[in-house]
Every structure is written in C-alpha cells, then in structure tokens.
Amino acid sequence: MLKKTTSNGREVAQRKTCASRLVGAVLGLAAFFGAALLPNEASAQEILLTGPLAGAGAVHNLRLYRKGRVEFAPTATFTLLDEYLRQIIVGARLNYNLTDYLAIGAWGGFSPEALHFEAGLVDRIQAVNEARGQNNAQRLALNQQPNLQNRLTSLNLGQNFADQLGSIDWIIAPQVTFVPFRGKLALFQSIYIDADLYFFAGPAIAGLTERADCSGPTSAAVGGCNSETDSGQVDANGDPIPIPNSQAFPMASRIAIAPTFGLGFTFYVNRWNALGFEWRAVPFARNTGGFDNHGTGPDGEFPDGQINSDDRDLKLNQMLSVSWNFYLPLDYQVSE
C-alpha cells in the first residue's frame, strides 16, 4: 500500500493503515480483557438435573423455627443520624408466624425522657445562646438595646435550646414479615447457629412532640413566635429594651402516620429463643429543631415568621434494633 506515489493514493494508504491500526488495537484490547476476565474453568455450583436428587428441595429436615409459632421479642431501638436528639425506644415485637416464611404482627415502643440524649451540636448552639444572653445582660445594664443579631434569633431560639427539640415519644407499627432466606453460620468452624434474614413493611403510627404552631411577632406566651420578654427598662431614646431568647417555646404533641420498612437478622440460640438485629426506616416529615425553615418565597423555601407544618423536613428516621426473641410453643417443627 505504501508504494503508491500519488498524493491521493498516499492518503488512501494512510487511511487504510490507520484503519488497520484501529482494528488491531480493538482486537488486542478485546483479547486482553477477554482473556483476563473470563474464567478458563467452570466454577459455579453444580446443579444436579438428573439422578436421585433431581427436583429435590435445597434443604431437607429443615428446622422450622417460625411456622405456627408466636414470637415475642423485647426490643431496644436506637435512632440513627439524628441532628439534635438521639433516642432509645424500648418496646417489643409480637408476631404470629403463619408459615416459616410469612408472619403478621406489630412492633411498638416508647422513648421516655431519660432515654433522650442530646447531640454535640445542641451543646454548641446552647453555648452560643448563653453567650448572647450574657451580652444582652451587659447591654441592659448600660440601658442599651441588644445586638440586632441576638434579636433576629428570637423567633428560633428559646432560653434553652434543648427544650425545643422534636422527639418521637412512641410508635406502633403493624407489619407483615417475609422471611425468604434461611441458613446457618459457623463461627471459627466450631460453633454453629441457625439464622434467617427477613424483610418487613407496614404502616407506622408515631406520637411526636414538636414546637407548637405559632404565628406573628408577638411573645410566644400569647401565641406568637417570639421568645423576647420586656425588661421593663427603656434606652436613651425612651424605647423599651427587650430581652431576646428569654422564654421557653410551648411544645405540642401530634400523631404522624407513615410507612415503615426494613430488614433484620435472627440468630437462633436454641429451640425457643433467639437474638435479633433489625434496621428500620420510618420516613415522615418533622421539625427536629423547632426552627422557622420554610413557608414563603419561591417554592416556600424562605422563613415566613411562623412555625407550622411548612417547617417540617422529610427525614428517613432510621433506627437500629436489638431484640431477644422468645417462641411459643417451645419446640419447633421439622420439614420433610
């Protein structure tokens, strides 16, 4: 090809050379990756299509830990990825296992005040809040108005930030449990336990405490949203001097209905009891900090000077549960 002398011929020859190079490179790459990635020996698990095991089930003489049994499981549930308040929900799960792979039941629990733990961010915010309070007191002593920044936060920060945090007080969730995977595991090849992996879903009814709805710039004590109180003093111009962030905001309870779903592992200790680990999500909108986040402007993304349902943000509300499961009757059935 390269012997052609005309310019046109040379172009054709170069084009052909480029094309052959491209083909060579593609073939080379294909061969390289093909040889590197493909196994040269079949290695998947053998499936016996003929012989005495043809058509046989995967497991024989399976211990049916669930079929026809009632499961009662006290649970401790830990909330995850909380911005301000971590909670432990104590409760229980009650299931009736219709078959070994299907159960109906409910999980429920409550979270008393003693099991609420504030995140580090709460301490940080409260430390700034208190520093502002001291600054306000110093200025008041000099008959001066508080800083504008301190006054601007009176809609969102009360005297003690921890007192305005939203919490999940109780929750109950009727649910259907599906158990598609059942197996065993060996620990150090010497201890073995039976286990299953299950999925569940259902509706959840949650009792919440959140900052109460309010509107208007008046004091929170009379239904407004402002945590300022009147100091009774006036500045040099005769204007009254307020004390910002000096009231506690009223709180209110409400009920949220949301879907719940998750998955869990059961590790059977003996014939009638087991340990369980479960991840659950209960997605619903809530106002965890008691702030005025939304309500006006484009797409309602700007604060509107009110606290209401617009200020709630959708959260997945993830939880991790550990449980100690008991099964009745005490003995299980065995499959064929």
């Binding site: 050379t17 052959s20 190079r21 060579g24 490179a25 073939l27 080379g28 061969a31 390289f32 093909g34 040889a35 590197a36 196994p39 040269n40 020996e41 290695s43 998947a44 698990q45 089930g57 995967a58 497991v59 399976l62 995850l80 990825l81 909380d82 911005e83 792979y101 961010l121 940080r124 915010i125 700034v128 809040n129 920044q149 601007l152 936060t153 809609l155 969102n156 920060l157 930030f161 598609p180 995977f181 059942r182 197996g183 065993k184 595991l185 060996a186 620990l187 150090f188 090849q189 010497s190 201890i191 073995y192 286990a195 992996l197 900090g289 702030f291 005025d292 986040n293 604060p303 943000d313």
Partner: protein, 303 residues
C-alpha cells in the same frame, strides 16, 4: 501496530495462564483433616456387606469356634445413637489462600449529618490463609463532598456556624480476618454462601475545613492526617470468584476544625484560622463486588 496487537495477545496469555490456584498444598495436613472430619468416613458401616475375603474369614472363625462367632442384633445396632462429628459448614465454598481479591466499591457516610462524603473506593487483598488477608484500600472523596441543607438552615435560623470538614482521599493498609462462614437457602430453592469478616488497619486521610465562619477571608489547604480504621463486612458469593461485598468501616482521625472566632484585626492571618482539634469518626457503608484471582482453584479438602 501489529506489534502492539501481538503484545496485547501475549500479555493476555500471560495473565490467563495462572488461573488455577491450589487451595491447600499440604497433603499430609489434608489427610489429618480428613481423619478429623469423620471418623467413620471411608470405613464400611457395621452391618454392611463385607468383601468376599472377609466373609470367608468370618465364616471360618464361626466354624472353628462358634462361641467366638460375632453375634449382632441388627435392630439394636440400628437404634444405637451415632455421634458422628459434623462440621457446621462441611466444605468451604471458596478457598482464598494465595489468591488476590480486587474489591471496587461505592461508599456512603453513616454518621455525618452535615457533609456528605460519598465516593468510590478500591480494596486489594492478598489472602495468606483461607481466613487471613493483608491488603491496601483507598477512597476518593473530593468531587463528592456535599454540604447539606441542614447546615444552611441552622446557620440561618440560629446565626451559628457549625465547623465543617471535607475529605479528599484516604489510603490504608489493613488486615482482614474471617471468623464466620455460612450459607443461606433462598426461598427454600437455592443456596448461596457468605462469610463475615473483621478488618482493621492504619493509613492516612487528606482533609480540610470548609470555611463557614469567615469564608471571605479564609481558605484552607489540604492536610494529611493519620487515620486508624476498623470494620466488619460480608461477602455474599455468586460463584467461586465473584461476590457482593457489604462493609461498615470506621475511620478514626484527629480533625483540625475551623476557628469559630474571628480575632479582630487578624482576619487574614492563617495562624488564627484553625480552632480546636477533634477526634472524628467517619463511619462508612461500603457496597461493592469482590473478584478473586486466580478465578478458580483445586480442592484438596474433605467434603
């Protein structure tokens, strides 16, 4: 160009050729294990048919001395409780000894509500035994750091800036130990194998504060910190060389945070930009696949 193509083919042949690893090369050990696995394995069961030679020998004894002739009550023997030693998992589905594991994954942070640090990662392990591996791993974060809306809302509502940190990369050396192996039946129809492992090691992570308190004046350079890591994970095997991997790992390091105060007159002095140093846990969920090389191996373990 032909030479390049040929070079690729040669390289392919070199890579493809050692695709068989021996799971265990200690024949003596294998025999020992076989003996442990089942004392009765390989021996004829009582009551089973004996070879002609043995039958002839037994008959001769009975003829010579009828009192010495063995008398077996087969019903009684059948009812006898047999305590055969059975391992929980009789045969490891996947032998890993002397194999390389390549583990690409995608990770999401589990404990940082303020900044998202999702990103890709890669782990490389060499399995020294069937349960112990030494390896390296790394994550790449830089283009995926995301400041959450929650930070903005807190800053707007409470007029308080929360110091934030973004990550660039991390790299680690680690050991992996697999104490748990198991299998599950799915829908009572198919069986899949899995194992659970613990992993731990040490490495480095590159981080810097996101300027929140005084973004007009402050700009931070990336700094490298020592990071320790520990985690647990699962391999769920699709076949003997490919598995899905789910791992939760905690990377612990000392994080230098932005100073929440702005000293008057020193706004542009970098020495005043850093505040407290905080021990930080970056807990990640890592979801990926594991590919074991060589792709196949030869069993020399008892069933």
């Amino acid at each position: 160009m032909k030479k390049i193509g040929v070079a690729f083919l040669v390289a392919s042949a070199v890579i493809a050729s050692p695709l068989l690893a021996l799971g265990q090369d200690d024949e003596e050990g294998a025999d020992d294990t076989a003996a442990e696995a089942g004392d009765t394995e390989g021996e004829p069961e009582e009551g089973a048919e004996k070879p002609d030679g043995e039958e002839a020998g037994l008959g001769s004894i009975c003829e010579i001395d009828p009192d010495a002739c063995p008398k077996l009550d087969f019903d009684k023997e059948a009812a006898r409780d047999i305590r055969e030693q059975v391992f929980a998992v009789q045969q490891l589905f996947v032998l890993r000894r002397w194999r390389f594991e390549v583990q690409p994954f995608w990770q999401v942070p589990l404990n940082d509500q303020f900044v998202g640090h999702a990103g890709p990662g890669l782990g490389l392990n060499f399995w020294i035994t069937n349960v112990l591996a030494a390896g390296i791993s790394g994550n790449y974060y830089e283009p995926f750091n995301s400041d959450s809306d929650f930070n903005f809302q807190t800053r707007r509502a409470a007029r308080i800036g929360v110091p934030l940190t973004e990550y660039r990369w991390n790299a680690n050396v680690n050991f992996t130990y697999t104490p748990i192996v198991g299998k599950f039946s799915g829908f009572g129809d198919f069986i899949f194998q899995y194992d659970a492992y613990v992993v731990g090691g040490v490495g480095a992570i590159s981080t810097r504060p996101i300027p929140v308190i005084d973004p007009d004046n402050r700009g931070f350079d990336w700094e490298t910190n020592i990071a320790f890591n520990a985690g647990i994970g699962l391999h769920i095997f699709f076949n003997r060389w490919l598995a899905a991997t789910l791992e939760v790992r905690d990377y612990v390091f000392n994080d230098k945070l932005e100073n929440t105060n702005i000293p008057p007159g020193s706004e542009q002095d970098p020495d005043t930009w850093y505040g407290e140093t905080q021990l930080t846990n970056n807990v990640q969920a890592q979801l990926g696949i594991s590919i074991f090389f060589p792709l196949s191996f030869e069993y020399r373990l008892p069933k």
